[in-house]
């Protein structure tokens, strides 16, 4: 079933896009990530222009995080104060990201930079996740757990001036730390079309030292608002949000996410994390190959 995308200016097979959204949604529901890091590259691979792909994938992450946020709210898993600080930083970051996006676009390096950030970010985080997952599976199989080198939070965070109390997170730290963190993730959201959960969650755990009970809910809270802001920023600057494409992705992904969430309950979380780590590394590897191999298209055309 072919459908014409009015902003992307091409026609796509609607079923393929819905299934793509469904697959990503399934994974996102299973692993509790937004899945933007898969959607954008897959859409580009399908032939959607990179800008339209990044702009429309952000709205899919919004949709995927909504039901998660509600669920976490009901069980008190959202630190609203922390989430608000992160969101304020994220919105500022997404506006700054739009400026960076425009600069890179003018210099012609946007595609290379996007690919490089993907490789570095996914490669390093995937590596860390893999190490952690292998460690916990060993523990599961009877190895002795490594003595937890418990640190409240990173010394850099402790050194920042001005301290606020974040009761739900059990923290007394400077709000500048989550503000900066949110800012960085906001830039990533606009540039890559990702929610940034895979950066946010480890950073909240290991840099800020937040309690595990509120980490996922609070990161979803931030992702919900920042991806919404990123969609708005894209709509107003690059004008590349394709609402038809976004709806197709949403239909697939919100359904897939629910199935994935059900499925996640029957698999041990340690194995889930291992699979996610391998998947993240695979995407990073594929992107790295794309940078190093001779591309199919040596020339690119841009309207001016």
């Amino acid at each position: 079933m072919d459908l014409y995308l009015p902003v992307a200016n091409l026609s796509v097979n609607a079923l393929v896009i819905v299934l793509l959204g469904g697959g990503v949604g399934f994974l996102s529901g299973m692993f509790g990530v937004g899945g933007g890091f898969l959607t954008t590259p897959l859409l580009i691979f399908y032939g959607i222009p990179p800008t339209v792909a990044a702009a429309s994938a952000a709205s899919q992450v919004t949709g995927a995080s909504v039901s998660g946020v509600f669920a976490h709210f009901r069980r008190g898993g959202v630190d609203v104060r922390m989430g608000t600080v992160l969101t304020v930083g994220g919105v500022m970051g997404s506006i700054a990201g739009a400026g960076i996006f425009r600069l890179l676009q003018a210099s012609g390096q946007i595609d290379t930079v996007i690919a490089l950030i993907y490789v570095l970010l996914l490669g390093s985080i995937g590596g860390l996740m893999l190490k952690e997952a292998v460690g916990s599976i060993r523990v599961l199989r009877g190895a002795k757990p490594a003595p937890a080198a418990r640190r409240r939070h990173h010394p850099f965070v402790a050194a920042l001036p001005l301290r606020w109390r974040f009761y739900a997170s059990g923290l007394y730290i400077s709000p500048l730390a989550p503000l900066l963190l949110g800012f960085g993730v906001g830039i990533l959201t606009v540039l890559l079309g990702v929610g940034g959960g895979f950066v946010l969650v480890p950073a909240m755990l290991y840099l800020l030292g937040m309690g595990t009970r509120v980490v996922v809910g609070t990161s979803l809270f931030q992702i919900l608002f920042v991806t919404a802001a990123a969609t708005l920023v894209h709509a107003m600057t690059t004008k590349a949000v394709d609402i038809v494409l976004a709806v197709l992705l949403l239909i697939g992904s919100v359904t897939g996410a629910q199935i994935g969430a059900k499925f996640a309950q029957v698999v041990k979380p340690e194995y889930l994390r291992l699979i996610l780590a391998l998947m993240v590394l695979a995407v990073a590897f594929r992107m790295a190959l794309g940078l190093g191999w001779r591309p199919d298209e040596i020339y690119t055309i841009e309207l001016s």
Binding site: Y4, N9, S67, L232, V233
Partner: protein
């Protein structure tokens, strides 16, 4: 008085000159192409008649040939060329073409190189290697040629540029027809369909018809909204994604 007399004397000559030239009466199957939700491209039929003075083709053993060219609106583009720098492929050289056609299809009754010489091809832009792209000054001729070849190659594989030698059928030396495929990726705007009648390397007659390609209905509305009411458009996009996420979440909780 004298001028009128001169004109009167010249009249048979003038008439003779025009009358000796054949006239093309071209038409296209669709003057308007509407892009709607199910648009996957369109087929355009270009057809018409060649009217010879006296109603007869002067030399039936030596028929004239017909070339049709469909062009999309010209665009100003920047082309970038990737190069391997420090192990990765990045955009390095760039050049600007101020008038690259967004779509270019040429169909002819014989391969175009057999019909006219290079100069005539350049004048009438006949053929993919004769496009007038108006490159920005500054680039060397060799560089311009390399980028132009890159542009043609890229657009050809996208289906946006193509040559179809032999695709024009001529019936009895009088009627001609050719089908041109318009892919779904074309930009909107005013297209032109040019028809040329060629014999002995010379263009005997030429005629132009215009075709409007536009988005219609919902597609037009969405594009306009994205372009002109971008804040409202963005808000609707966000609202839709929240609604979908929420609806799916609450539906599934009932099962």
């Amino acid at each position: 008085m004298r001028r009128a007399l001169a004109l009167l004397l010249l009249a048979p000559l003038l008439l003779g000159a025009t009358a000796a030239k054949p006239v093309l009466v071209p038409d296209v199957s669709r003057r308007n192409i509407q892009i709607a939700y199910s648009f996957t491209g369109a087929e355009l039929l270009l057809f018409g008649a060649i009217l010879y003075p006296g109603g007869r083709e002067p030399d039936a053993d030596h028929p004239a040939d017909v070339v049709v060219v469909v062009k999309g609106p010209a665009q100003s583009i920047v082309m970038r060329e990737k190069e391997k720098v420090a192990g990765i492929w990045v955009n390095a050289a760039r050049t600007r073409f101020r008038s690259a056609p967004s779509f270019y299809a040429i169909a002819s009754s014989k391969p175009i190189a057999q019909l006219v010489d290079d100069r005539t091809r350049a004048i009438y832009e006949l053929g993919l290697d004769s496009l007038q792209l108006s490159p920005a000054s500054g680039a060397t001729a060799e560089e311009q040629a390399r980028f132009a070849a890159g542009l043609v190659d890229l657009q050809r594989r996208q289906g946006l540029y193509y040559e179809a030698p032999g695709a024009v059928e001529i019936t009895d030396g009088v009627l001609y027809r050719a089908a041109v495929d318009i892919p779904a990726r074309v930009p909107v705007g005013r297209f032109t369909a040019e028809t040329f009648l060629i014999r002995d390397g010379r263009v005997l007659a030429a005629a132009v018809r215009e075709i409007d390609i536009r988005k219609s209905g919902f597609e037009r509305f969405v594009e306009q909204a994205a372009e002109h009411d971008s804040l409202a458009y963005g808000l609707v996009a966000v609202a839709l994604s929240v609604l979908f996420g929420w609806a799916a979440g609450s539906l599934w909780r009932r099962f």
